[in-house]
Every structure is written in C-alpha cells, then in structure tokens.
Amino acid sequence: MNRKVLLGVLLLAFVAYAGWSFMDAVTPYVGIAEAQKSTSNVQVKGLLAANAPAPHMEGDNFVFTLQDEDTGETMLVHYHGMKPDQFDEAHHIVAIGKYRDTAFEADKLLIKCPSKYEQQK
C-alpha cells in the first residue's frame, strides 16, 4: 500500500511541476504597446517598418524596427542571432522575447511567408 501512496505523491508532484512550468512558459500574443509594458515573455506580430533604418547586424544582434499593422506604432527589436532566411520576403514577423529598456530583446523570430510550402503568387 505504501508504494502506491509514494507513487501517487510522485505523480502529483510531477503534475504540479508541469503545471507550474506551463504557466511560466505561456507567451501571450500582444500588441506593441502592451509588449513594452509587459515584464514577461510575449509574442509580438508586425511588419518591417518602412520608415526606419535598414535591418542590420550590431555585434551578435540582428536589429530592425517592427511596426504594428493596425496602430502603426513601431518598436526597435534586437534579435539574438543572424538575419533569418526569407526575412526580406516576410509577410509578417513574429518576435518572441521580452522588452528591456529601449528595445525588444527577441530570442526567436518566426518569419511568416504565406507558407513555407505555398509560395506567394
């Protein structure tokens, strides 16, 4: 009987741990204004801003300006990595990360071409 209790406790502990990890890892989709206020990881979707310095590398960071499609707000993005493939053909760019001081520090970028499979006509 004891073993069953032990097993149950272990399973419950794991479920609690998974639940906590889960809450911690949820990254909601937000607009630029909200992203600048948020203290946790978020995803921001936008377009490459037209009236801004051209995307470029600064050290190990790829730097560009993201523009909200609806409100027109802009935000500087520092992506920790190289310029992604198909960046120039992107329909939308999704930046995942956290806003710090003056720029959005992105750990990951999703480049939305209409699809990887279905080319833009």
């Binding site: 794991f14 889960f22 990254t27 995803q43 310029k83 493939d85 480049i111």
Partner: protein, 699 residues
C-alpha cells in the same frame, strides 16, 4: 476529369466495400475484397494521373502551377506530387489503399475490421476531394511557380512519403482493435497481427521524424535537429502513443486485463495522427509555427473526421467495456508487467504535456487571446520524464514477467552511469538534469544488452532500446554540450574556434548564377555552405557548412553581408548620373511581350570612365510573379549592372550597380560557428531505433 472521376470512384468503391463487408456473408465479403482492390486501383489511377499532369507541365491545373515549373528536374517534379496539402492527402490515401490491398489479400482481418478500414478510406477520400489537386487554375499561366527552393532538396523526395506511411499504417492496429470490439471477440488472438502492423507504422513514423530532424539540421532556418515546433510535435505525439500501444500490448499478451489499455492506445494513436494533421493544415498555427501550411478551409473537415474517429472509438469501447477481460494487471510490484505499465504511464504524461503545449494556440484562441508556450517548457518537463523512463526501461529489462525474477544485478550499470555522466561532462555539459540523463542513458543501454544476453528481450527490441539510449545520450551531448560563437571572417585568415582552426576561403559563384558557396577550411578539411539564389540574385535558401568528425560536427552558418557594395541609382533619359568610378546615361528603353506572359524591358545605357564609352543592354524580364534581371558586366568585369525597374512612360529607369564577381567573392563574412559534440551518435541511435522497431515487426 480523369482525376476527379477516379476519386469519385474511389469513394463509391470504398463505400460499397464497407456495405459488402458489413453484410458479413461469405459472398459479400468476397465481393468486399474485390471492391477494396478496386478502390486501391482508382486511387492509384488518380495518383498516376496527377504525376502525368505534373510531368506534362499542365499549368492549367492550379496544383501543378503552384508547385511545379518547366525548369524543375525530374526528381523535384516527382516530389511536387506531395509538396502541397492537396497532393500530400492524395499520397496518404494511396498508401492507405495499398495497405488495404495487403489486408484484403492476406485475409487476416475480419470482415468487421475491413468495413471499418474501408470507412476510413472513404473519409480520407472525402478529404482529398474537399481540397482536390485536380482543380483548374483561375488564370492561365505559361509557367508554374515551381517548388520552393527550401524544398528542392533530396530529402524532400524521401521524408514526406515515409511520414505518411507511418500515418497511414497506424490505422491498421486501430481497425484490429475496432474489429475485436465490434465482433465481441474475447481473448487475445488479434494481438499479434495488430502488433505486427503497429510496429511497421511506428517504425516508419519514427524514421520520418528522424529524417525530418536530420533535414532540419542541414538547412538553416528550421531550428536545428529538434525545435519543438508544433509540426514536429504533432508527429511526435502519435509516435509516443504508438509506443504506448506496442508496450501495453506486450503486457496484454501475458495479462489479458490490459487489453482495455491496448484499445485505448490504438484509438488515441490514430486520433492524434488526425489531430496533428488538423492542427498543421487548418492554419490555426499560422502565427506559431515555422513550418505550417497557410490557412485553408479544410480545417473543419479534418476536425469532423477526427471527432468521428475518436468518439466512435471511445463509444464502442465504453459499450463493450464490461465484456472485456478483467483481472489483475500485474502480480507483484517487482514484476516486469508493473514496471512496463509504469513506463507506459510516463509516456502518457509525456504525450499529454506535448499535446497540451502544441495545442495552446488552439485552446487560447477559443477562449480569447491567443498564446503559445515557449520551447523551454518542453525541455523542462520532458527531461525528468525521459530520465524516469530510462530508469523504468533498465528495471523492467532486468526483471522477468510474473513474480519478477531478477535476471541480473544492477552493479555494472552504476559504473556505466558514471561513464555516461563523465561523457556529458567532457562534452561541456554542466547542468544537473542533462548529466543525469546522460548517466541513465548508458545504464539503460547496459541493462538492455544484459537482458538480451539472458534472453529477456528479443533482437529487434534490444536494437531499438539501445538506439533510444544512444539517441538520448547524443541529444544531451550535442544539445546541452553545444557551443556557438560568431565573428566576422576575412578571406584567407585563420581563426581558432573551440580548438578548431577555421579559415574562410571566400565565396564561389556557380556558372548558372543560381547557387553560390561560402567556402571554409576546418582543420584542413574543405567544407562549403550552399546558398540557393533566385533568378535576380537574391538569397532563396541557405544551408550551413558542416565539417563532420568523430568528436562532433563543426557547424558554420554564414550571414549574408549587410553592405555588399551594391548600390541603386535612378537614371533619367538623356541625363548623366555618376558614381565613384563611372558616369551613366540612360539612352532609351524598348518594351516587348515575352512568352512568360509578361513584358521584357531592354534599356540601353551608355557608360564612360572619362576616356572610353561603352554601351550595355540591360534586360528585365517580367513574369507573372515578379521580374528577373541578369547582371551585365561592364568595362571588362570591373562592375556589374542590373535593371531593377522602369517607369510607365519609359523616361526613367532604376539600376543596381554591383562590384565585380572577384571583389564580391572576397568580402569578409560574419559566420556563426557551433560545435555539436558527438552528433553522429544521434543519427546512429535514430537508425537503430527504426531498424530495431521494424526488425521486431517480423513475425
């Protein structure tokens, strides 16, 4: 028309087969088998017809125009068959039909099972017809868009068919289970056949996943061998559940009470295949995945099919639950049955966690603001489970069934565990959990081999478990042990990176102008990073340069230079414009129709260096999807010019001046260098897992 008619016939024949099998009399069942063969033949006919359309460049068919083009080589034309949603569903249907043919010929499966199988075939046909590859184009084009350069890769010919074999074959264990429930068949006679098919499907699905991982490793932009992308997860979850199926089935062969679990696992494995297809094809993940299809209307249809299969399966199981064998699942805690069921429970947890993570975008969308989980969620939760699972594998394999006789002691395993942790430490891993995972991987490997020598596991099982242990060890070494560093590299200069001597040798442009290479030397070995180019010279798809070695791979990812010395200028007719080296004057432009269905503009530009004058004819070929312009060399190749635009009245043009090929190829390039210790172990482990699984399928 041939395509649409074939599909309609497939649907009709499948439905007729369902009715014939359902009637259960000897004569109708024999008819059912013929109808099954007929349904296979018509699906085959539709597939052959699609291939014929592709090879005949029938761009009046939307699918052919979207995924093929005149220039594609035969291999990629063949791959265009499954490059899009429509074609890949047809491929799935074809494989489902082929397996149906085998079942009809072998006559293993009862008539009730065949009826369910053909009902699934009818549902798949509906999916193909709902988004048919035979729809005519809306506007006629001279040439197709062609296959996305990213997909123009030999693995494209292999990866999708193998994944779909896995998907399709997981239907077979489901129908064996459904047949047993429908006919109220008591006992476990159906288990060996279901196990045989499940192992084949499981092996192919695994092979497809591993090949996808290897492919994602050797192109840039797909996040390495495993990125927890929803598309990857949606194949991983059915693979894990198929693993549960195979293992609880093994327990059920000894303890009949576990048959209920076998039914459950079989239903869920196939339902999750459909669910994964739904997630990736419906466009719901559009903003969350690097890899999903564009939004389409077919999502609802798949959701309905998925719901029907899951609900019908569960309902059937519920109705029959009372008549299923009852009894104890395991005689003692130390028995192999108990430990295996514990391992299966861990797999349930793992599947549930990944399922929850990958479904977040869907669930949150339903209740309001969409959200996703970050990838470290998966790592944090699956790693402890993987450790526990390897421990249960070790314990289970060292125990016997029944009273749990100890086959061998665990002492040598402790030494192996220390060795595993040591390997991890040597590869640069410093966190506790990854080191523990490395340790228990080698313990599981040792336990598997010991158990095999004491006849505790068969050959196929041994190979698969050894492969799994090696793969997980390799993931720790190459994942947690990976280091990266990026810097600008000057041609001819050597850099010391993580103990490797890396020299950038320059860029190499291919004659065709459609490919270029960044050439490096790593410890004296020459490696090249391929970049595929569009007709206008822009990057289309990039691959890294990989220097393979026993100690691990050195992985070099070049970044296209920001300032490549290219410059755009606007020239007005008859006026002079200058840059540092030359003066340019646009004389006149000529516009003609071309056979691509667009316009070709030829601009005459006079160029002078102050002494002599040269004329260049810059050509811009317009097509329905943009324009292409080949650079023209001027003054013996000192510079290259390219026409990029022209105004409606042809009074102004825009040109791009580029440095000579020689200058461009010697530019310094920022390169990201990573080392992936022992990554070859991952490929070896993956091959063993699949080979072992398929070996075990032998009857």
């Amino acid at each position: 028309m041939v395509g649409v008619i074939s599909l309609a016939l497939t649907l009709a024949l499948s439905l007729a087969a369902v009715l014939s099998f359902a009637a259960q009399s000897e004569r109708t069942v024999r008819w059912g088998r013929f109808l099954t063969m007929g349904a296979f033949l018509t699906a085959l006919l539709a597939s052959i017809y699609l291939l014929v359309l592709i090879f005949q460049n029938r761009f009046d068919i939307a699918y052919v125009a979207s995924y093929s083009s005149k220039e594609l080589t035969a291999m990629y034309k063949f791959s265009a068959f499954w490059a899009g949603q429509q074609g890949s569903f047809l491929l799935w249907l074809l494989i489902h039909g082929t397996a149906g043919l085998c079942l009809a010929v072998k006559k293993d499966l009862s008539a009730a099972g065949m009826a369910v199988y053909m009902a699934l075939m009818a549902l798949l046909t509906v999916l193909v017809m709902a988004k048919s590859p035979f729809v005519p184009s809306e506007n006629v084009v001279e040439n197709g868009v062609g296959l996305n350069p990213l997909l123009q890769d030999p693995w494209m010919a292999v990866h999708p068919p193998i994944i779909f074999i896995g998907y399709a074959l997981l239907a077979v264990p489901l129908v064996y289970s459904a047949a047993a429930l429908l006919t109220g068949q008591k006992g476990k006679d159906w288990l060996p056949a279901a196990r045989h098919w499940a192992l084949i499907g499981w092996g192919f699905l695994g092979a497809g996943i591993f090949i996808g991982g290897y492919w994602a490793y050797k192109v840039l932009g797909w996040g390495g061998f495993w990125g927890w992308d929803p598309v990857e997860n949606s194949s991983l979850v059915p693979w894990l559940v198929a693993g549960i199926f195979v293992h609880v089935l093994r327990v059920a062969q000894i303890r009949e009470a576990a048959i209920t679990m076998v039914h459950l696992a079989g239903i869920f494995a196939y339902a999750l295949v459909l669910y994964g297809t739904f997630l990736t094809r419906s466009g719901i993940l559009g903003d969350f995945s690097v890899h999903s299809f564009a939004g389409t209307s077919i999502g609802m249809t798949i959701a309905v099919v998925n719901g029907v299969v899951l609900l019908a399966g569960l309902l059937l199981l519920l109705v029959r639950a009372k008549s299923l064998p009852q009894g104890e699942y395991y005689p003692a805690y130390g028995s192999r049955e108990f430990i295996m069921l514990l391992g299966a429970l861990l797999l349930v947890f793992m599947s549930a966690i990944i399922f929850l993570g990958m479904s977040m975008p869907l669930f949150t969308q339903l209740i309001g603001k969409p959200a996703a989980v970050s990838t470290d969620f998966y790592v944090r939760t699956t790693m402890p489970l993987a450790i526990a699972m390897l421990l249960t594998i070790s314990c289970a394999l060292l125990r016997g069934y029944g009273e749990g006789k100890v086959l061998a002691g665990g002492m040598p395993l402790v030494a192996l565990g220390l060795l595993g942790a040591g390997c991890g430490y040597a590869a640069g891993v410093r966190q506790f959990l990854p080191l523990l995972l490395a340790a228990v991987s080698l313990m599981a490997l040792g336990a598997t081999v010991i158990s095999w020598r004491r006849h505790g596991i068969n050959m196929g099982g041994m190979v698969a478990h050894v492969g799994l242990a090696i793969s997980l060890l390799a993931m720790v070494l190459a994942g947690s042990g990976s280091q990266s560093y990026s810097r600008e590299m000057v041609v001819g200069e050597s850099y010391d990176v993580f103990g490797h001597e890396v020299t950038f040798m320059g860029q190499d442009f291919l004659e065709s102008g459609r490919e270029k290479y960044y050439v490096y030397q790593v410890d004296g070995q020459e490696v090249k990073a391929l970049t595929k180019l569009r007709a206008n010279g822009e990057d289309a798809a990039r691959e890294p340069a990989i220097a393979k070695g026993l100690g691990g791979d050195v992985y070099l990812a070049p970044t296209p230079p920001q300032d490549n010395g290219r410059m755009e200028m606007v020239l007005k007719q008859g006026r002079m414009s200058m840059d540092e080296d030359f003066a340019y004057r646009f004389e006149k432009a000529r516009v003609e129709k071309n056979d691509e269905g667009g316009m070709t503009v030829t601009a005459d530009v006079a160029i002078t260096d102050g002494n002599t004058v040269e004329h260049a004819d810059l050509v811009l070929t317009g097509t329905h999807d943009g324009g292409t312009a080949k650079p023209v060399e001027i003054f013996g190749g000192q510079k290259r010019l390219r026409l990029t635009g022209v105004t409606q009245n042809q009074k102004q043009i825009r040109i791009e001046s580029m440095p000579s090929v020689e200058t461009e190829s010697r530019q310094p390039i920022t390169t990201s260098v990573s080392v992936k210790p022992c990554i070859w172990l991952l490929w070896l482990g993956s091959i063993l897992v699949c080979a072992g699984t398929l070996w075990a399928a032998k009857r």
